[in-house]
């Protein structure tokens, strides 16, 4: 099975980072402080999550798994919101991204657990939490990119959008080009990742499974499954977010309502 790492192994690896920081300091790159802080954050955050997962695995009830999933969702929602230059004002700023992530990531993960992988019980946290984490993390990326493009493009092209409205375009048609563009922007990273998988990069999950002693073909099957889950989660999530967002940009009289974005006026 897995070769256990001792605390000294990690300490030795950290010496490499320290050397890098020393060189940065000596040569005045100015990055050493951030390097050390983020290295420390990695160690602390991962240890904490390890502790949380250990407790969660010991208390594998649906309640704790759901709670963990909810916390992950809310943190991801906050992250999506923080990445918007011109996000929607009020609850919409948090709601559009979070709702879309919830719909797509949870549906995809539950489907994978209940129908495809079928651990017993289906919410077994060793499967549910890493799977949800991977789907959620990527969906979050896609939604953040897509929404950011949607709102910033609507802001920049407001005169063209209104010109189309003046010509009698329905609101959906008036924003169609921007919506299409936002969808594409949201999906590009996962499309690229799928195209490069195995050729340029060995995906992290597969690498991890192989290190843990899983036969390569088993690890590959899991990786393919996860890639497909991520792609569909990201795709459906971005679709929902961009659709919801583009609806919110107009009111019931098909007026462009940029006053619903923050930082407007």
């Amino acid at each position: 099975m897995v070769i256990a790492l001792s605390i000294w192994d990690l300490a030795l690896a950290s010496v490499l980072v320290l050397i890098l920081a020393a060189i940065s300091w000596r040569m005045q790159f100015g990055i050493e402080k951030r390097l050390l802080i983020s290295a420390l954050r990695t160690a602390v955050q991962l240890s904490l999550i390890g502790l949380v997962l250990k407790i969660l695995f010991d208390h594998a009830t649906i309640f704790w798994v759901t709670l963990m999933a909810a916390v992950m969702l809310l943190l991801a929602g906050r992250e999506v919101m923080a990445r918007q230059e011109r996000r929607f004002a009020g609850w919409w700023g948090f709601g559009v991204g979070t709702l879309s992530m919830f719909l797509s990531s949870f549906a995809v993960t539950v489907l994978a657990l209940a129908v495809l992988i079928q651990p017993d019980p289906w919410f077994t946290p060793q499967y549910a939490i890493p799977l949800l984490g991977m789907v959620l993390g990527n969906t979050m990326n896609g939604i953040a990119l897509g929404l950011d493009r949607l709102t910033s493009a609507a802001w920049q092209q407001r005169q063209a959008i209104e010109a189309r409205l003046m010509l009698g375009f329905p609101s959906g048609k008036a924003i169609e080009l921007i919506r299409r563009d936002s969808m594409r922007v949201g999906l590009v990273p996962i499309v690229n990742a799928m195209a490069a998988a195995g050729v340029i990069s060995l995906p992290g999950m597969m690498t991890g499974q192989i290190l843990a002693g899983t036969p390569p073909m088993e690890a590959v099957k899991y990786q393919i499954l996860v890639m497909f889950l991520i792609a569909s989660g990201t795709g459906f999530g971005t679709l929902a977010a961009v659709w919801l967002g583009s609806r919110r940009l107009f009111d019931e009289r098909e007026r462009l309502r940029l006053d619903r974005l923050r930082g407007a006026q």
Partner: protein, 203 residues
């Protein structure tokens, strides 16, 4: 007889409340200092901005139809034309050759790159694009500000013809007193307080 366009107690931002009627075939000129509400009034009429009061096209209220159908019948030409595709022709559905010729183009213009058109050419083409919808009312926001004298005459002549032939109602915002006198059948002007008055006004 029902007027073509009736505006009742319309107010938006700092404009109004306004009452206004426009008969079929009438050309109403609208003057007033910059920022007095001319553009805001046109935007409220086409329901692009939230507003109070009512606007009726003949006996149909703005709210009785969906907004995009309303805007198709009330063609608003903004002061600055907007283009979003590469070729001029990509923005058109069909080709109205008589109108094209009246504005000084031939059909080759449809293959032009928008980026290579001058501001004035774009403005004339934008009018043409708007007319494709066959609006009942034309709302022109300083339509000839970027045109030379020859093209100003072309635009004025085209609008005049459509007004006569199709009983088009026109509201024409202009800063040029001579143009106001040439094209208008009735004149209104804004004061600095968002209110309308008869006449060409002094400003």
């Amino acid at each position: 007889m029902t007027p073509l366009l009736s505006i009742k107690q319309l107010s938006t931002h700092h404009v109004g409340p306004l009452n206004l009627e426009l008969a079929a075939g009438e050309c109403l000129t609208l003057a007033g200092p910059s920022g007095s509400g001319k553009t805001l009034l046109l935007r409220a009429i086409t329901d692009l901005d939230p507003h109070q009061g009512e606007v009726l096209l003949e006996d149909k209220s703005c709210h009785s139809m969906c907004a995009h159908a309303w805007r198709k019948q009330l063609g608003l030409l903004p002061a600055e034309s907007q283009w979003w595709l590469e070729r001029v022709g990509d923005h058109f559905n069909g080709l109205d050759e008589p109108c094209l010729a009246e504005l000084g183009f031939d059909k080759g213009v449809m293959d032009w790159d928008v980026s290579r058109c001058s501001t004035g050419e774009r403005q004339r083409l934008a009018l043409l694009r708007l007319l494709e919808n066959r609006p009942r009312v034309l709302l022109l926001d300083e339509p000839t500000a970027s045109l030379d004298a020859k093209n100003v005459a072309r635009v004025e002549a085209l609008v005049e013809r459509l007004r006569q032939e199709q009983a088009l109602g026109v509201i024409w915002v202009s800063h040029d007193p001579e143009q106001v006198a040439r094209v208008g059948t009735r004149h209104l002007h804004f004061d600095g307080n968002g209110q309308l008055h008869e006449g060409v006004g002094q400003w």
